[in-house]
């Protein structure tokens, strides 16, 4: 293991200082986040106050958010209708996503205790899809296992977690990403990409150098 290079604090502060970034750049990162995460009102306000042209029209943000909210309250049917209203190609060209939505629908039936409907739905809608795309089968089996355990507490985490609100968020997130992609927008915000880059950069540098990891609230001092 080669010895790590020590980097003095002053040297590092100069390094930080030299990084090229403008306020406009950071504004654009913020705007990107507001749009992708669907903060429509904030995006409108920000675009006005910062004099930034938004990358998309605000109505499409709203449409996306309605779909997300429908999924989060468990109304899968409404979400599917809205996705198709927005752009019918999204589900047509993405069988995995459509399966995910159908799976969510099944979960919602089970959650509501509508077991007969759940069974019928699974046999008529989901099973044929599983046959067409064998890669969906494990997920389908997992979901069907919910019926076996019903509301018992003994279900393994991987199965019971399907009933958690997180599963709804996960589905909503996937739909959101697919819609963004259909608008040829990045599906993950640049802020998340920046954090990933930070993690990678710091971990690579840690192997080679001892450098100050600034506390983000303090940072380099002005004088």
């Amino acid at each position: 293991m080669p010895q790590k290079v020590p980097i003095r604090k002053e040297e590092w502060e100069r390094r930080l200082h030299e990084v090229q970034v403008t306020k406009n750049d950071l504004n654009r990162l913020i705007m990107d986040y507001l749009v992708i995460e669907g903060y429509k009102v904030s995006a409108e306000e920000f675009s006005q106050e910062a004099g930034l042209t938004p990358p998309v029209d605000f109505e499409s943000i709203e449409g996306r958010m309605n779909i997300r909210e429908a999924l989060q309250r468990g109304d899968v049917e409404d979400a599917i209708t809205r996705v198709n209203d927005l752009n019918p190609e999204i589900l047509d060209t993405n069988p995995a996503l459509y399966f995910r939505l159908q799976q969510q629908k099944l979960i919602e039936y089970i959650r509501q205790g509508r077991i007969a409907e759940a069974l019928q739905f699974a046999q008529e809608e989901l099973a044929p899809r599983g046959q067409e795309n064998p890669e969906f089968l494990p997920e389908l089996e997992n979901t069907m296992a919910l019926l076996a355990f019903e509301s018992s507490k003994s279900a393994p985490e991987s199965i019971s977690s399907l009933l958690s609100p997180n599963q709804r968020m996960k589905t909503a997130g996937e739909v959101n990403a697919a819609i963004l992609e259909s608008f040829s927008q990045g599906k993950e915000s640049k802020l998340v990409a920046l954090l990933k880059l930070l993690c990678w950069g710091e971990s690579m540098l840690e192997e080679r150098a001892d450098f100050p990891k600034v506390e983000f609230g303090e940072g380099p001092s002005r004088r």
Partner: protein, 648 residues
């Protein structure tokens, strides 16, 4: 393989002839050039001699007259090859050609600059007081400090060691670092074996280029045209370290690698070699690349990729492009970016760059970074209630969900901090409401009114609008400490701005009385004598200015004098706003915005808050890590370029 016909008669010796020079006046030089012509063009800078050869395959006539050792072209400086634009440290990579400024959004060139004084049009990576432009959003360009305004506070001690050194790119064969049997042409590109052919299988004659390959290239590539394969074509093209013996072919010795023409084998510090590619001979162009993001090499033949080869190359020692020859008359010509490459190296580099980016983006954000951001000063008073939960969760799926949710909360906090910091009141309020709705149990507490958002924002807005009086009144009543800090520096700046604003009012009044405006549009009208309102506002402004000068003329702080001088420079012009250059800038909106941003930071400082949003620290820390890694030779880091990925 010739890509262009030989221009002159077949056995006619080549001639030095500037392309544009009239033929009649041209002196043909058919003898070996005298020493004076033999000097390196790094100093001679002869643009008329820009190579007449096009493409790496354009072999010179020595191919047809192997005994002719008279070489024509002088060393010609060339630009940094285009494929190197993919490196985030491209501005440090230089040939001897004078750098062109500024090609891109951050077109700066470190090596040629030493301070702020000569750098109005491009950004300096050199320490400066300001790190972000103070312009709101009207400008893509980075902020550069005004010319005559020295840094108010010298922020960093200047180090004698350059933080980001210039990295020299190879430009020619070395005159010294070559076996004596090899002759280097005056243009530095051709290498010919002139000694007695080597016998047996031990000896050879190798040469290296003049500079080692900076790993900050990410990928480095060059092409070698085989001018004459001689009798056996025992040529090796590759890389070697600085201490590798020159009496051996690249690839035979430790710390050297080569691809041999006679058998197509690749050699990596070994005598036997392994089958790699086709053989090559006269007329072929062999490309040779090293990828520091994978520590692998690759070759091309006549523009086609042959594939990846050699592991762990370039990890331990600096490397030079190197060629080894063994027999009389063997001759090669190197293209280090002098001419366009046969292989589409730009596409190659671009693909590797995307590959590195996807690799990085395929990783998860580490919990420790999330925690650091969550604990950052600005967001600290409101610890995320879920932060401890995720650590106790046993199930990995659940853990992921939790940390995803937590990350969203933390990023929301980051965004909120940013909006509040810069005083985007409307956006901050709207965001706060929406944030609470989407994740009601987390996110920063009710802090919309923390940081004196409203009062601060009003002052900032007044300054942006040029209303210094309102800003001054509000500051006096809400943040009096701001005006007192640094012996009243901010107060002084506000008053200077006030003076400039008064001058602008006077200039405007003058325009009106001259009738230059009709319904807001300029009219061509004969100049009339200034009438009363204009005279009054001018007198007002001057009175204020004189008072200002009187009050501060004994202040010995250098920045006071400079600032005052700048403010008064507008007096010389009737219409300062439309004076191009510095005066226009002092008078104009940009200066208002700069002052507004300084004011914002001064208030935050007085409030005991960080003077920059957390997001900016995060960005700078990221950028600094990547630059440091790139300079330490981690090739993949130069392909992870946030500027390119986020802002282009």
């Amino acid at each position: 393989m010739l890509t262009r016909p030989i221009r002159s008669g077949i056995y006619e010796p080549r001639v030095i002839r500037p392309p544009d020079a009239p033929r009649s006046s041209c002196i043909d030089i058919t003898l070996p050039p005298p020493a004076t012509r033999n000097h390196r063009a790094s100093t001679s800078n002869t643009p008329t001699a820009v190579s007449s050869a096009q493409g790496a395959g354009s072999l010179t006539s020595s191919q047809l007259s192997p005994h002719q050792t008279v070489i024509s072209l002088p060393n010609v400086p060339f630009q940094r090859p285009a494929y190197l634009e993919h490196s985030s440290l491209k501005h440090l990579l230089q040939t001897e050609f004078p750098p062109i400024l500024p090609p891109g959004r951050y077109g700066h060139d470190v090596g040629t600059l030493d301070d702020d004084q000569n750098s109005r049009d491009f950004t300096l990576p050199i320490p400066r007081r300001r790190r972000t432009p103070l312009i709101e959003s009207d400008d893509e360009g980075p902020f550069t400090p005004p010319r005559d305004l020295p840094p108010i506070v010298s922020t960093y001690p200047t180090s004698s060691i350059p933080l980001s050194p210039v990295l020299r790119l190879p430009t020619r064969w070395s005159d010294q670092d070559r076996h004596l049997s090899l002759l280097v042409s005056p243009d530095g590109r051709e290498l010919t074996f002139v000694g007695i052919s080597c016998i047996g299988d031990k000896d050879a004659a190798a040469a290296r280029v003049n500079h080692s390959i900076p790993a900050a290239c990410g990928i480095y590539y060059f092409e070698v045209g085989i001018v004459n394969k001689g009798q056996k074509g025992q040529i090796s093209i590759g890389f070697s370290g600085p201490d590798v013996r020159l009496s051996r072919l690249p690839g035979w010795e430790k710390n050297s690698w080569g691809y041999h023409g006679d058998d197509g084998f690749s050699f990596s510090a070994e005598k036997m070699g392994s089958p790699y590619g086709p053989t090559y001979s006269t007329g072929d162009v062999i490309g040779c690349g090293i990828d520091f993001s994978q520590h692998r090499a690759f070759y091309t033949k006549n523009g086609d990729l042959l594939g990846s080869v050699f592991d762990n190359i370039g990890k331990d020692s600096e490397l030079y492009p190197s060629v080894g020859l063994r027999h009389q008359n063997e001759s090669v010509r190197i293209n280090l970016g002098h001419d366009p490459f046969l292989y589409d190296i730009e596409d190659h580099v671009n693909q590797q760059r995307s590959h590195v980016w996807s690799m990085i983006q395929g990783r998860a954000v580490s919990p420790s970074v999330i925690t650091r951001i969550a604990n950052s000063h600005a967001l600290a008073p409101h610890p995320d209630p879920s932060s401890s939960v995720s650590d106790t969760s046993e199930e990995s799926t659940r853990h992921q969900d939790q940390s995803g949710k937590r990350m969203k909360g933390v990023i929301d906090g980051l965004v909120f901090d940013y909006l509040v910091h810069h005083g985007y009141v409307g956006a901050a309020r709207a965001f706060y409401t929406q944030m609470r709705r989407s994740t009601p149990d987390r996110g920063p507490g009710s802090r919309v009114d923390a940081y004196s958002l409203d009062a601060r924002s009003n002052i900032v807005k007044s300054l942006i609008a040029g209303d210094v009086d309102s800003a001054l009144n509000d500051t006096t009543s809400t943040f009096p400490a701001v005006l007192e800090r640094e012996q009243g520096l901010m107060l002084f700046k506000l008053r200077c701005r006030k003076f400039v604003e008064l001058m602008l009012i006077a200039a405007d009044a003058l325009k009106r009385t001259r009738g230059e405006y009709i319904d807001g549009r300029p009219r061509r009208a004969p100049a009339a004598a200034p009438t009363e309102p204009a005279q009054i506002s001018l007198a007002n402004a001057l009175t204020y200015g004189q008072k200002l000068e009187l009050e501060y003329k004994n202040d010995t702080r250098p920045e006071i004098a400079t600032y005052l001088k700048r403010a008064f420079s507008v007096v010389a012009y009737e219409d300062p706003l439309n004076v191009p250059g510095e005066v226009g800038e002092i008078a104009g909106q940009k200066s208002r915005n700069i002052l507004a941003m300084e004011m914002n930071e001064a208030i935050l400082e007085v409030l005991g808050k960080p003077t920059q949003p957390v997001l900016e620290y995060v960005y700078r820390q990221t950028g600094a890590c990547l630059v440091q890694l790139g300079l330490m030779g981690v090739g993949s880091a130069v392909f992870a370029d946030p500027t390119k990925e986020f802002f282009e």
